[in-house]
């Protein structure tokens, strides 16, 4: 395989022909070698779907690289820019697969019915936890239900309680990830400020869990 600098990668990939074919072949083999390292935490290499996923993501990444070549700014290594594209594609596909059979209808419920109240999975924390933690849980739960909008509450429930990726939340509610992030950021700011004003800054509440 040829060792290319950024300019060589971009120049070779820019024009159709033998050089492009060779560059694509090199990048394909590089991705097929490196991508498994990146995604093995989310999908075991022993999983029957693993090899197909690597192959599909590699193929899609190469197509995106060709179509987005002009957006490479050249601040870092070209290969790392390509890896970043592959990571986003692979993890988004894994997120979609993991949640595809799970109903998250409450995300679509609008404020007209008041939405779904936020609830930690149990009023009682795990047996080993202290009464202090139980009180914090009630306090936070109450603050979320009183201070946040139905939409903010539902998204927080999905992300914090159910562990739904923001990307998947975005897909379900027909928004993009930036919008979901912004919605949650506003919710966090509001909650933090409310807890602070009530005399319970999150930093101090957190200390209870580090005991």
């Amino acid at each position: 395989m040829t060792d290319r600098d950024n300019d060589s990668w971009v120049n070779d990939l820019r024009k159709p022909g033998l050089q492009r074919e060779e560059a694509l072949r090199d990048m394909r083999s590089q991705l097929e070698r490196v991508l498994p390292r990146g995604i093995s935490r989310w999908l075991s290499p022993n999983n029957a779907e693993f090899d197909d996923l690597v192959e599909d993501v590699t193929q899609e990444t190469l197509l995106r690289v060709l179509s987005q070549l002009d957006s490479f700014e050249g601040k870092g290594k070209f290969a790392n820019w390509v890896y970043k594209i592959a990571v986003r594609l692979a993890l988004n596909e894994l997120r979609r697969r993991k949640w595809r059979n799970v109903s998250l209808d409450f995300l679509q419920q609008e404020a007209d019915d008041g939405g779904v109240p936020f609830q930690f999975p149990s009023a009682d924390p795990s047996p080993e936890s202290m009464a202090e933690r139980r009180e914090i849980m009630h306090l936070v739960q109450h603050a979320i239900n009183e201070e946040l909008t139905a939409k903010q509450r539902a998204v927080m429930q999905a992300v914090v309680i159910y562990g739904v990726p923001m990307e998947e939340v975005a897909r379900r509610i027909g928004r993009d990830r930036n919008a979901v992030y912004k919605l949650l950021h506003d919710a966090r700011k509001r909650l933090k400020s409310h807890l602070k004003k009530s005399g319970f800054p999150p930093e101090e509440l957190l200390a209870v869990f580090d005991k």
């Binding site: 490196v34 991508l35 390292r37 990146g38 995604i39 935490r41 989310w42 601040k75 870092g76 290594k77 790392n80 820019w81 890896y83 970043k84 592959a86 990571v87 986003r88 692979a90 993890l91 997120r95 799970v102 109903s103 209808d105 409450f106 930690f120 999975p121 149990s122 009682d124 924390p125 795990s126 047996p127 080993e128 936890s129 933690r133 914090i136 849980m137 936070v140 992300v159 914090v160 309680i161 159910y162 562990g163 990726p165 923001m166 990307e167 990830r177 930036n178 992030y181 912004k182 950021h185 966090r188 700011k189 909650l191 933090k192 807890l195 999150p202 930093e203 509440l205 957190l206 869990f209």
Partner: protein, 90 residues
């Protein structure tokens, strides 16, 4: 939807996860800033940030803002960790 919630509740309660969820939420709130970078801003700089981390550069200025985003955004955090693994010499 109700059936799903009941199933989920049982599954989570059986594992006693409330504590860690609450701690996780408190961690996110403690790390929350008035001004934060959005996911798209972080994505645009993710490989440069990761290269700088691998070079052992100090996390200041814009890098600190990216790091703060990674503390409160599980999706970007996962992408950063996957990219870090790919970029680290084998």
């Amino acid at each position: 939807m109700k059936r799903f919630l009941i199933w989920l509740k049982e599954r989570l309660v059986s594992k006693g996860k409330s504590d860690s969820m609450l701690a996780n939420l408190m961690r996110m709130l403690a790390a929350t800033k008035d001004k934060e970078l959005a996911c798209d801003d972080v994505y645009a700089m993710l490989e440069n940030f990761t290269e700088a981390i691998l070079r052992g550069e100090p996390v200041t200025g814009l890098m600190a803002s990216i790091e703060q985003h990674l503390e409160v955004c599980p999706d970007c955090r996962d992408e950063y960790e996957a990219l870090l693994k790919m970029m680290k010499p084998a």
